[in-house]
Symmetry: D3
Amino acid sequence: MHILLINPNSTASMTSLAHESALRVVQPTTRVSAVNPQETPVSIEGAADEALSVPGMLAEIRKGERDGVDAYVIACFDDPGLHAAREIARGPVIGICQAGIQVAMTVSRRFSVVTTLPRSIPIIEELVSAYGAERHCRNVRAIDLPVLGLEEDPERSERLLVAEIAKAKKEDRAEAIVLGCAGMSALCERLTLATGILVIDGVTAAVKFAEALVGAGYATSKVGGYDFPTVKSPVAIHKDMVRGSA
Amino acid sequence: MHILLINPNSTASMTSLAHESALRVVQPTTRVSAVNPQETPVSIEGAADEALSVPGMLAEIRKGERDGVDAYVIACFDDPGLHAAREIARGPVIGICQAGIQVAMTVSRRFSVVTTLPRSIPIIEELVSAYGAERHCRNVRAIDLPVLGLEEDPERSERLLVAEIAKAKKEDRAEAIVLGCAGMSALCERLTLATGILVIDGVTAAVKFAEALVGAGYATSKVGGYDFPTVKSPVAIHKDMVRGSA
Amino acid sequence: MHILLINPNSTASMTSLAHESALRVVQPTTRVSAVNPQETPVSIEGAADEALSVPGMLAEIRKGERDGVDAYVIACFDDPGLHAAREIARGPVIGICQAGIQVAMTVSRRFSVVTTLPRSIPIIEELVSAYGAERHCRNVRAIDLPVLGLEEDPERSERLLVAEIAKAKKEDRAEAIVLGCAGMSALCERLTLATGILVIDGVTAAVKFAEALVGAGYATSKVGGYDFPTVKSPVAIHKDMVRGSA
Amino acid sequence: MHILLINPNSTASMTSLAHESALRVVQPTTRVSAVNPQETPVSIEGAADEALSVPGMLAEIRKGERDGVDAYVIACFDDPGLHAAREIARGPVIGICQAGIQVAMTVSRRFSVVTTLPRSIPIIEELVSAYGAERHCRNVRAIDLPVLGLEEDPERSERLLVAEIAKAKKEDRAEAIVLGCAGMSALCERLTLATGILVIDGVTAAVKFAEALVGAGYATSKVGGYDFPTVKSPVAIHKDMVRGSA
Amino acid sequence: MHILLINPNSTASMTSLAHESALRVVQPTTRVSAVNPQETPVSIEGAADEALSVPGMLAEIRKGERDGVDAYVIACFDDPGLHAAREIARGPVIGICQAGIQVAMTVSRRFSVVTTLPRSIPIIEELVSAYGAERHCRNVRAIDLPVLGLEEDPERSERLLVAEIAKAKKEDRAEAIVLGCAGMSALCERLTLATGILVIDGVTAAVKFAEALVGAGYATSKVGGYDFPTVKSPVAIHKDMVRGSA
Amino acid sequence: MHILLINPNSTASMTSLAHESALRVVQPTTRVSAVNPQETPVSIEGAADEALSVPGMLAEIRKGERDGVDAYVIACFDDPGLHAAREIARGPVIGICQAGIQVAMTVSRRFSVVTTLPRSIPIIEELVSAYGAERHCRNVRAIDLPVLGLEEDPERSERLLVAEIAKAKKEDRAEAIVLGCAGMSALCERLTLATGILVIDGVTAAVKFAEALVGAGYATSKVGGYDFPTVKSPVAIHKDMVRGSA
């Protein structure tokens, strides 16, 4: 099976990092490729960054459909363009926030999310609510470090994450932690060891759920809300393709 | 005061139509201009159309900021890119779905929404929930007509709307109706007369709320979630500007 | 257009204060008059005070209907008798709590309310829920000062409000503040300046929304829940009038 | 123990009817008296009627406090002034809607409410939500008969109720029915027999819960929201007393 | 009337303790017997303990049905097997958690629960939600003492409870406290005196509600979810009886 | 990896059926064994059946822990004893209801559940709520056939399911269907073909999710709510073991 992992931002090093996390856990028979659009923000911090990243991400999915990709993983914790992607794809499209939360709701009764910037807290809270985890999610916390800061100073990032996770365990009575940024993926195991609480990485969760859904034979339903985008006047289609392949 | 009404799709006739609805109700001292991006879908039917319309819409807001616009109205009932727009704008940004719902929650106890295509129902239901109207909104209904169909066959559209509103009144015990598409704006008063129930047009509601907020001196809070997008590496900014002025 | 602002308590100085806030923001063509019933509690602190204030407030609305008032603002943050008032009025009736919350939900992602007495916290929490803002409202806080204390010692009131708003900004991650008492109206701008966070005054918000709804041509729906009170036996009507004009 | 049952409307025949329902079920050692204010609407149909009935009802509670009443039952299904009454009373105050719903949530998994006029449906839905029964309450139905119609034509009322309850059983899969008006109290058992589904009368439920709470030694908490109304300036108190004993 | 109080764990001393609390408040004409199964955990701390306690508890209810018991009280705050018990019983079955919460929602606007072990917090939070008290319940707190610790060291237990209740009053603005363990029953009044806030014991509440429901003539509805368990093949029935009378 | 599938009822034919569904989709390297307790009800229809099935099911998990099982699937749509099982197991425990719902929330925007008996509807509705799918689940429907009826008359079962699914598609606007009983597992693909809507089988979903979680390295968190059951007095442990190995 072929899973396409898309990092919606344009920072190739984050793409490779997420790719490695995926390769670490997939079955031998699964092919995972990873891409990122060229013309998107270098990191996704807020709704405007999200919005600017989605058309490029959707273009990658259109390419994937032509290449016979079986499932897609969107490797940004805001799950940008998730519903749009599901309209375009035949196979399942997994967001790392939704997948991370589904794991947390399965292996713990109460969890907290730890993300990078405080400005993302309300965005993630809305996702928590959209995915039905309001009762299960104790808190969404931020270490107040920009996304790219995770790469620039890994030691500091890890220190901040360990401290925030410890607070989540003590103050929130969190039973598991969901990492609120694809850029934290590689730290997952080290954080579990350092804090003594299960830390969940959305990239890992999403890739395994993608494999599971394809293996189960479940694709995106094309009845109703996730049906393919309506085809309109030739002009519209043309514009669409242009943008799609931009 | 200067209000910029943005129709996120690329159908100029719908832009003019919404513009007229706005001009009909603004104060003499209010200037309303209306635009639509060139390179967006001809109509917004689903999440993929939304996603493709947002960058162009945000570019119009960036222009508006340079031109000293005081408030913005996004004239598509899915409120596409609403949060992103609020990050970019200094003044208030009003979505016609949120404004229509706020009016409905003020002048009635229970309302229903009537939109065009069934595929938009879950999208609007999520907005109803995001705006806190789950208890107040009895139902989201669709007349099963594409957005552009509203212009192509106005008589049929009106017949379908009158019939659906009558059902909402009887079956849902709706006390008011919110029109679920900017393209229905002009029909609003005729529908109220034809059905004997208050019919609310989001464009009208949004333009008046924009005037109200500017008049009250309330702008978008730049503390937290709606702060301006983070400025990143020059490259990132540059890309951003390019896209912004595309 | 004629807007009638009703302060449900019997403290005339608070009525004038709210009147001034209204006059500061209305359009030149809008007439705002302000009244308060004579026989109501001097301040509204809890549900019993509310209950005793409503019949007098409704009597003012009946008078307003005879005088052709276009819209009403109830200038008490508990929105006492809001639903009852809407049954009696033809035009829109705006509560300052609902209006303040609608503004906060439009210009910020998360807000907190700051009110006077702790005993009002559950009352306001119920309103927050009724208006669909449970996810958007981070916290309802009280400065533990009686309503009349706001007038008796303005300096102290301001100090307490500045301190509580600062806590809301830091501890709740509030992005905007809604003032939880009509008596705080005049302090609004000073508090914004002192705290660096948008502070919203419900009186201002409500008066502008009243103008907006009348300008848009939206009145209270008389289909269903807000229909005029049922006329019963002459005796009943008579009693009603007596009380109404008491 | 002394329980005071207050019918907030001024129709003495309804008061006697509720009184009889209470006397039918209380313990021999329990004294139940029943009153109604003189100057309130003849029936409570909507929020305005509620508002006009509350001050008189609160006055009865003040009298009750002077007479050493142990608990109060408010015999109107809208639970008008329930929170206000609890501020004034030392002992428990039971609303028939809340009590009926608590019984329904204890003896069934899903129930429906059947009331008189459609205009009361949103009011009762808000109570269902306030009492935490949104998931348990399948539907709020109305037989479209004015409250006083129940007395004027008992046969027709019973026919309409039997038909509506049958629909609730079949269409809502209701497992129990809560009667949505104190005036239906006497029909309760006959309706259970006629429909083969448990029918719950709020008056009966409330009186027994009042006995239970007094028997358990639980009074209204005076810490926080239900504390006694604040005593203000002598003038205020005086006004208060005047109204209180009006 | 005959009420059977069942302590689902096998610690006879806790059964007697709950029995005493019941005897303290029932009417002279009410007979209360108390039992506990032999083969269940010595205390119920978590979902596995619950699960192991339920079949024995249901067997006691089957016996009760043969003995003509009128109502049942399950004296464990997790309300283990409550729905199952209601399927088997003709009369009402009251859980002490649901009853305690119903009292708290009637005599206060906001309450907190204080239980023994932190691991029970999510279990109780789910019950709070199932019983519709999410808005009314401020917090679920634990004193971090095993259930049997309550008996082993009563002084320490009381000290811990007084301290935790004081925190709930101050930090949660709780207006009443619900004791989160049947083993705390005897301390209820002393805790109210020591903390100056109403403390509610679920055993007391449940026994009085059981009396109230029987007195009102309300039994468990056998239409729908609480219908008697389906009788299956003889083998199945036989197994069932064996287990039932084990 | 070794996955143990447990059918909590005692009908071996249903166990084999679920086993086959599992074997159809697992990876070659995954070992799936399937068991059912001997002394449990022949089918699970309601909460009492559930309660009687759980201790035997937990005993199988204890055995599994001794045999080094990596993950467990509970093959009954009521997810009986799911939380209890997670306390006992080291690895993940997947309920087929939760897994089926998680798939439905990933591949569609709105779904309905189709189960066997109407009495299970409220039970499943509570699970839908507990798993956070209240907004996504349009309806829970029943074909009114006992669980064992699925085997006794497969043709009729299929006819009834096709008809009910068609209604869910049309009346509920369901975009996917979750089969509400493990006994329907084998029909899944045929139903998808017959109805033209994606039909999801919880057994298939749960087995693949179990593989995914083990593959990702996520086990059940032992911090907090899912910690191992407390070890009490030897007597208690002994009893426990006895029952555990019964």
